[in-house]
Symmetry: C2
Subunit: 253 residues, 2 copies
Amino acid sequence: MSGARGRLFVVGLGPGERGYLTEDARTALETAQDLIGYAPYLARLPEREGQTRIGSDNRVELERAREALRRTAEGRRVALVSGGDPGVFAMAAAVFEAIETGDPAWRGLEVEVLPGVSAMFAAAARLGAPLGGDFCAISLSDNLKPWETIATRLECAARADFVIALYNPASRARPGRILDAFAILRRTLPQATLVVFAKSIGRAEEEIVIGELASADLSLVDMATLVIIGAKGTRLIEREGARPFVYTPRGVP
Amino acid sequence: MSGARGRLFVVGLGPGERGYLTEDARTALETAQDLIGYAPYLARLPEREGQTRIGSDNRVELERAREALRRTAEGRRVALVSGGDPGVFAMAAAVFEAIETGDPAWRGLEVEVLPGVSAMFAAAARLGAPLGGDFCAISLSDNLKPWETIATRLECAARADFVIALYNPASRARPGRILDAFAILRRTLPQATLVVFAKSIGRAEEEIVIGELASADLSLVDMATLVIIGAKGTRLIEREGARPFVYTPRGVP
């Protein structure tokens, strides 16, 4: 370990290339000695002299977190880059898993998570205010939890009349999990429940599809889609020549 | 209506005075002709020559939204300022309620919601990664929805094993609603469930209290507190001479 005191920033970029970066996040990215992250996220950041970049594949989150912690323990100032908000289905949990199970000295490191705009909030902002009432966020990825847990959570969320944000609705290995999720929701929720597919939010190819639970075309859902299922109160405000606003009133009658 | 095309930005500042502001939000605040918002939020922004400021009380959200829409309809460039993320128990839903129920011409206005860092994500970042699994957000305010709805949502959230973020846990009119909420959660969840009171997040007087469901001292909860209730997997990483990290592993066994 060197004499310098290392510091690890876990930095949320927000989704896509839009101006979602916070001031704290920008400062951390500018002053870091090492930038570590999923290669396409690093590619969004300007090159800086003297800054080391360690890009990696998307599926090695825990290994990436360990690399960041090793460098921090060596006294370096490290920014571990995450899409969206690092605390929402992103890098922060992997960092603390790595600390819990790794070198006990890592518990003494300075680690600061810098929050960002999650895909869910960016998508909501583009639509209007679909999360205006109570809401929940569920990752459909069953790499790390059994499908039964996900199914129970979907059922409870429907019964609670939450607006539901679904992350990771499809993957290369399991393109069809959104079908299983909708089968559960279609059994429980009104068929006219509003459904939104928010694709590639914040990117040039951004696309928003608004439909209803019963008839929504699930073949449109891919890995870059965030799915929002409305609550009973969620509704459209129609507009001439423009996409309708989607919003959920703050109260329920 | 003037010849100029008005534009309304609904801008999230993030919580407190920290550097949570996004680049898009900063640009909107700098270029607006009118700044409208809860007076203490406006006070956080630098004065600019030629910019009109209309500060108001916290309890008149719908009236504030209408004032912003009226000025936008007159062709002005308006920033309606919100704490945290405007889409999360804040100003965005009030704006769309005002549009739905107001002058039909308002549907034709350009309205852009600029997302921000919600109190929930800022608090999570200060703690570690407590929202690392699936989670929900519930406002305990019963001004606009019946308590029975809130009670059902709490029960469903507990059954779902969500991490739960509770907004508006107390108010001047109803200081005791957190007692009712905890009574429900204490009937349903393990008594050792981790509980966090995140007070005045992002402000100088920020304070974080970590406890357990059964014994948490609810007299500490005030209007500026965000309450986080852990899931079954949520746990502490103890550290020497520092506050423990709080995190929820991404998966469940």
